[in-house]
């Protein structure tokens, strides 16, 4: 099975209260080196077989139509991952 990974972030000029809350908590845990935190969303869409150009085009359309609100958010990337292990491999703790 293939996977399409879509990342959505709040536009830079939009206030991100969730990111600010995280930003406020980091120093309390001893992480003093980070100036700002922005929190986004990741969607992983699974398809049968390999990810095709058609899958990517449909995912891009879904990202613009439903997964993001263009007033406040940007679709940062729409890309293929051929196996879920490589999706998980981006986060070694999972």
């Amino acid at each position: 099975m293939g996977h399409v990974v879509i990342d959505v972030m709040l536009k830079p000029e939009i206030l991100d209260p969730q990111g600010q809350a995280v930003s406020g908590a980091l120093p309390r845990l001893g992480f003093e080196q980070f100036r700002e935190v922005r929190q986004g969303k990741r969607f992983v869409l699974t398809v049968d077989g390999e990810v095709t150009e058609e899958h990517l085009a449909a995912a891009a359309e879904a990202a613009e139509k439903l997964l993001s609100n263009p007033v406040i958010e940007d679709v940062v990337s729409v890309r293929a991952q051929q196996d879920v292990d490589s999706v998980r491999a981006e986060d070694p703790d999972q």
């Binding site: 206030l15 209260p17 969730q18 600010q20 439903l66 007033v71 406040i72």
Partner: protein
């Protein structure tokens, strides 16, 4: 006079909205999110709550409910529609109104008696107010911060499309303290505070919510 009240999974204030409709002598008609039928109503209320759990973004999934397939063209055609709180979020996600609602700048859920100034008393839902009138109704939300780009904000201000503005402090960081807006035609209104909770003595800070519902009654009668 029939006013439809849409119930999405997670709607909370649909019963109160129906009660407010009956309080001004109109018939409240229950509309189900899964039905693409407006049952011949003369106006529609999109009530507050947490439609579809507000997963993804507030109002984002509700915008694609079957009932919206009927409502969106009807609203574009002039049907009076008011979206209150979550309903406002649904109207913005539907692009019937510009802008978006984001999490309150202070990150807390807010529940207060909120002062507002009615700035536009010529919409289908506010004609029974006087421009500049100050009212107090309940505000309760976690994601009530109204945002839009500068051009849109200037357009809203320039065309008199800010319907209600927060007075006595901005409760959620809304740009330019905007509490509610309308479309260019004035038949669609969205606002974060809840007029339907202020229509009966003894149940809230005032009965200042009543004119929203009496206004639309007159609008339909005169149409």
């Amino acid at each position: 006079m029939k006013v439809g009240v849409v119930t999405f999974p997670g709607s909370l204030d649909d019963r109160d909205a129906a009660r407010a409709v009956r309080a001004v002598g109109a018939e409240a008609v229950t509309l189900w999110h899964g039905d693409a039928d407006l049952k011949g109503v003369d106006a529609v209320v999109l009530p507050g709550g947490f439609s579809y759990g507000d997963y993804l973004r507030c109002g984002a999934i509700a915008r694609f409910a079957p009932v919206m397939d009927a409502l969106i063209p009807a609203a574009r055609g002039g049907l009076p529609v008011i979206g209150i709180c979550n309903g406002f979020q649904v109207l913005c996600e539907s692009h019937l109104l510009p802008g978006a609602l984001i999490r309150n700048d202070h990150r807390k859920f807010n529940c207060v008696d909120q002062r507002l100034v009615v700035e536009n008393a010529s919409t289908a839902w506010t004609s029974d107010f006087v421009a500049g009138q100050e009212i107090t109704i309940v505000l309760k939300n976690g994601e009530g911060g109204f945002v839009a780009d500068e051009r849109t904000l200037d357009e809203l201000e320039g065309e008199g499309r800010v319907v209600v503005r927060y007075a006595g402090g901005n409760p959620n960081g809304s740009y330019r303290a905007i509490a509610g807006i309308t479309n260019d035609r004035g038949n669609i209104v969205g606002l974060m505070p809840h007029p339907e909770h202020a229509v009966e003595e003894g149940y809230g800070p005032s009965t200042d919510g009543l004119p929203f519902f009496t206004s639309v009654l007159k609008q339909v009668a005169n149409a």
